[in-house]
């Protein structure tokens, strides 16, 4: 390879590390993807409910067009949402709202732990970067780039691998008082995809920032010590 063709920046650095420590990267991505999938699950149900359950049929057919077979398996259970009382709907919305918030909080802590461990494991590397003259800001830039890339991959895998499961299996079945079954079709409209995408990036970058900031407080000479 011609040496003048090379480029080397924080993105190259981040990708090299992700590739090199592949097992670690995969476990991180899987962990974050799962938490994102749970956020997607609760929020998609919330969206489905809020967007008028009575229109389920119309929306379901659109969804079925996108992911064949996603709705048909629940066909026999579907009941017009207008049969559900206003109070039931409201309490269901509240329930899903609270669940979504809780799931987002859990996701935050899981991501923070995951990012803390991976930053902590690289204390020595941070020490080296500091010793060759990197400012905290430059070290941070490398870690945030990497957090961003991990977040992006996690989001895409949660979206593309998680969506079929969510729309197929996560249909929300609720017993009505009279013994009938009420069906909520989860909805994943583009605006939800955008919101979850932005939320994932925010959470991964912010948790990486917190984890790296904590480690950067340690003096370089401490970080370079082989055992601690």
């Amino acid at each position: 390879m011609n040496e003048t063709d090379r480029s080397f920046n924080s993105a190259t650095y981040a990708l090299s590390h992700i590739r090199h420590d592949l097992f670690r990267s995969i476990t991180t991505v899987v962990t974050i993807s799962l938490t994102i999938a749970f956020i997607l699950l609760t929020t998609s149900l919330l969206f489905g409910l809020v967007n008028e359950i009575s229109e389920t049929d119309e929306k379901a057919s659109i969804l079925d067009g996108m992911i064949p077979g996603s709705v048909s398996m629940f066909e026999e259970f579907r009941i017009d949402g207008s049969q559900l009382s206003k109070e039931s709907k409201a309490s269901l919305v509240n329930y899903l709202l609270v669940t979504s918030v809780l799931v987002i909080m859990v996701a935050f802590f899981i991501m923070f732990n995951t990012m803390s461990i991976s930053v902590q494991e690289r204390r020595g590397e941070i020490g080296v970067l500091r010793s060759v003259g990197f400012s905290s800001r430059e070290v941070m830039k490398i870690f945030l780039t990497e957090g961003g890339v991990i977040g992006m991959i996690s989001f895409l895998s949660a979206l593309f691998l998680g969506t079929p499961f969510i729309v197929n299996l996560a249909a929300y079945l609720i017993e009505r008082g009279d013994g009938g079954i009420f069906f909520v079709q989860p909805m994943i409209p583009l605006q939800l995809v955008a919101i979850i995408g932005a939320l994932t990036m925010l959470l991964t970058v912010f948790t990486t920032y917190l984890a790296a900031k904590k480690t950067l407080r340690v003096r370089p000479v401490e970080m370079l010590r082989p055992t601690r």
Binding site: F8, R19, H20, V128, R130, G133, F134, R219, P226
Partner: protein, 244 residues
Amino acid sequence: MPDRPFIETIDVVKTYKVGSSMVTALDHFSIGIEEGEMVAIMGPSGSGKTSLLNMIGGLDRPDSGAVRVKEVEINRLGEEQRARFRKNNIGFIFQFFNLIPSLTAIENVLVPVMFERETPVKRAGELLERVGLGDRFDHLPGMLSGGERQRVAIARALINDPMLILADEPTGNIDSETAREIVSLFRELNDEGKTLILATHDRIVAGRAKVMIKIRDGRMVRGKAHSRDGMRSLSPDKGGGVPE
């Protein structure tokens, strides 16, 4: 006032907490090193060699006393300013090479300058050629021998063309033949005008240096000492250095 030496430590004290007891790594340590010197610091493990290098390189701060490099009192600089000072003036070489395992040889060399507007890829290549790794540009550290890794580390230390190179046990983890080659490389760099300070156990390595300092328990036991009044020799018969 006499001219200040290029590097000086004045009455530096550094203590560390180990468990519940305090260990004195540097005990009122004063030294002056002139520009263009090649100095070997010898002493047993725990004698304070690494601490001294860390002080001079601004990786650590003394509890008391002063450390001046190129007329900058680096112990007064903040962490970020010291990082910038290191970037522009100092090349570090470590016993365990401290390369980034996920980056290739040439990327490791480029690490210190990766945020520059233009990455000096050509210069990194030339440095790798110079240390004899012209055919190892794309090898990861894990694919290189100890000696080769240390050469990559040397090329990395040179990428910013620093005036001062600090090497902590640079031959501690490589075979004696490679160690000799690496020391020859250090001599070459010194001949080009770079100031080198090596902490080492190895007598052969120390023997190639122009000045030898021995320290024990954080105090200098042989070598040139420096005080506020200027230079003086601690042991005039041997202290001025080891001739080739």
